[in-house]
Subunit: 479 residues, 2 copies
């Protein structure tokens, strides 16, 4: 084990000089008030310290400061839009480190509509990427709540999911090539825009989802799709998660790949939304236990999309799967339905703290999972309220536990570890994942070790050591 410098190490002076020489003095932040926005995560759960916040604007500048870090054994915390929900981009204590922000690496390098690809730097905001695609009559399908501030580099490092995974896959499936600065400060140019390439190990997918622990993604070639002619949205009321699963099968049979969204929302979710955002309207005359938001992306026309929905819903009524349904007849009506879904996280904030889980199980087991886990939680915490919603089409639930009516939220949060144990043990029994789309970061690193096999953890550690022998990259995260 080599000695690792602490924050007070005197060599940091010459290290910062190297950084200033590489980036210019204004892009090496060392004053507390300048560094502060980079040192605390979005949800204000984690804080750390750093010798400096580095703001390179080119890949070569990234490589230069990484070489300086390598020479001085300074740890590196890569950061994009600082929207991690797991403290993945916040320094941990006890290690001399820098935050390396990619936000000035924000150029769209190339767009190739005929190849359906766009080459972007890591700091490009997701929404900017969506807009650039749209200007060329193309779709970049990755879409999630933080899209106005998260970066594509962060999306790739955490293999972000969101609402269009059912059809288009996660960030991983949308990426064809990467440019990466290695922990040694070398540049790997893997910016290939190819649909087929079998010339060696899949390094691309190793860096995707590694949360900055193996190297720094500086640019990527992302896939684009022809923009669909129309998007049509519907909301269906169903009696149970099991009925929602039957609707999913039926919808896939009727719409095939045109089905691009399938979101489950429990009654409590929509109650909270309409309680805290009374301008949003629950569209059914009676309350139902569950609602499903469906989206079709039609290559033909809006009328064709609506006709597909109508045929599908008719079959669903006849089969007794659906209790009620509305198909949006305008963009405004579609927006109104999506608003219900998108306001669930905001309504939770208004309602008070709860204990959140971002989990996935095989789609076929979602209903059994909910039933079994709800029962265990009720047994341990009678009256606790389930705010269960999410991407049912991907088997991915945001399975959040609120205190019983009238119970103090902070007092209930003291049960977080016990609640996590019940939920994650259940996820494990159902062959699921304790982190479906948010990554591990600091939040779930220890928890992950509980459920992963020694064989898998051993291979992860071997790869970490092989690519980052000095353990410089984002310490305290993932492995």
């Amino acid at each position: 084990m080599t000695a690792v410098p602490s924050m007070s190490d005197t060599r940091s002076g010459s290290f910062l000089e190297l950084c200033r020489a590489a980036l210019g003095p204004t892009h090496v932040l060392t004053e507390a008030h300048d560094k502060s926005p980079y040192l605390t995560d979005w949800r204000r759960r984690y804080s750390g310290d750093a010798l400096a916040v580095l703001l390179p604007s080119t890949t070569e500048e990234v490589a230069a400061v990484v070489r300086a870090c390598h020479a001085h054994r300074i740890a590196i915390v890569p950061q994009g839009g600082n929207t991690s929900l797991c403290g993945g981009a916040t320094p941990v204590s006890g290690r001399a480190s820098v935050v390396l922000s990619l936000k000035r690496l924000n150029r769209i390098r190339d767009i190739d509509p005929l190849n359906n690809t766009i080459t972007v730097e890591a700091g490009v905001i997701l929404q900017q990427l969506q807009q650039a695609a749209s200007e060329h009559d193309r779709l970049f399908p990755l879409s999630l709540a933080a899209e106005g501030s998260c970066t594509i580099g962060g999306n790739l490092s955490t293999n972000a999911g969101g609402t269009a995974v059912l059809r288009y896959g996660n960030a991983r499936e949308l990426c064809l090539g990467l440019e990466v600065v290695t922990p040694h400060g070398e540049v790997w140019d893997g910016l290939r825009g190819l649909r087929k390439d079998n010339t060696g190990y899949d390094l691309r997918d190793l860096f995707i989802g590694a949360e900055g622990t193996l190297g720094i993604i500086t640019a990527a070639v992302m896939k684009l799709y022809p923009a669909p002619r129309a998007r049509v949205t519907a909301l269906a009321a169903v009696q149970s998660p099991r009925a929602a699963l039957s609707l999913l099968s039926l919808a896939q049979q009727y719409a095939g790949p045109a089905l691009t969204g399938f979101e489950l929302m429990s009654a409590l979710c929509l109650t909270l939304v309409t309680r805290h955002f009374p301008q949003l309207r629950y569209p059914f005359a009676a309350p139902y236990p569950q609602a499903v938001l469906l989206e079709l992306s039609d290559s033909e026309s809006e009328a064709h999309g609506r006709a597909t929905f109508e045929a599908m819903m008719e079959a669903a009524f006849e089969a007794g799967i659906v209790a009620d349904a509305v198909v949006a007849e305008s963009v405004q009506q579609s927006r109104a339905l999506w608003n219900l879904r998108e306001h669930i996280p905001l309504a939770q904030v208004e309602e008070g703290k709860n204990i959140k889980h971002d989990i996935a199980v095989p789609i076929s087991r979602v209903a059994d999972f909910i039933e079994a886990t709800d029962a265990r939680l009720q047994q341990a915490f009678p009256g606790c309220r389930m705010v269960t919603f999410g991407h049912l089409g991907d088997g991915n639930l945001h399975y959040n536990v609120s205190p019983p009516e009238g119970v103090d939220h902070d007092a209930f949060l003291a049960n977080q570890d016990a609640v996590n144990r019940i939920v994650h043990d259940s996820v494990h029994r159902f062959g699921g994942s304790i982190s479906a789309e948010h990554g591990l970061g600091q939040l779930k690193r220890e928890e992950n070790r509980r459920y992963k096999s020694d064989v898998e953890l051993g291979m992860m550690r071997a790869i970490k050591t092989a690519l980052d022998p000095q353990a410089l990259m984002n310490p305290g995260k993932v492995v």
Copy 2:
């Protein structure tokens, strides 16, 4: 460097005893005539020797013999259907090794139509997997020429491509989870059937495409899709690869994800097919420089698919992109059009040897690539004939060079290295891949080193050493 045993090493006796104890004596082949089918590749280009051919029938048996190999430092050559086009499953000389055939590991462990997944062992033949899916009204989309004899383990180890990649991706994109026996003889159970899982490094995609050099894939969870209601095929005559690319854009705009096949065939390809298979008919009244086979998979009906094709072709005629077109009006007519495409490799065999390349470039650059590379080849080898065909929708061409009319095929093949240099240098200039869907194996290992950067090769070697420190797994391939 530790000493590596040679074929004559006396310790092989006790090693074979361990294998016989693990598998039973009849599943350890040591007689030359028993081993022989496993020691030469499909195309009879490569031959090697092995102490034994091992035929385990369970994952535990695989692990047991790998542990024996590990203890005795015997190299392991995993083999599926022995259909590699690159010598990837044939032993190299100079190293004591065994062939480990997965063909008895051929159970379908589970099929979950609601989760749209199937769990299969490595030795399941691709066609059996397709059939099992079909029996549950599901589609397993991977499809390629060798599907009657290749195995899913080999498909995954080489990240196989084929004719449906345009819509469904390569073998990689069709896999959700793996079971792997590591080079230490441990079993990694990564058989997760999840659409979202961000709990650590992507080991799955590291083993996929590694051609058995990092471990042995013993089972996999593969994605299924709802079976489309109808498949409709069309053949379009175009004047140039550039026009074919324009047709691709237009087809994607009209059909979106329903466009599942887009295959280019040069005039010479179809001339050879009709010359050697006169029962197959070229469907156009006049010869055209290029033809494109298109396939739509429609979730609605055959009539709807044909209507989409008709609208598309009408627009293509009006835009001057297409010179002539036929839309198949029956399954028989569809079959006849696909027969033209599928008989190209067979017609080449009849015509005599040629120099083959399995390359990919960005789709937008295919026409420029063909033009520039054809010109260079004509300059170097005047009169050489280009048998160019393949998966244009993926930028993947089988770019094969036949001798000029009347020139002896074997004499022309003496130019193979010079031809490869011209073609691969050109691929490299166009940002392409010298192995799109066949892998590297023995055939392209050296060639790959010429074009990969030192940074990339260095990371590949670091990973190889980290996971297989004794270099037991499939030596002489990939790295």
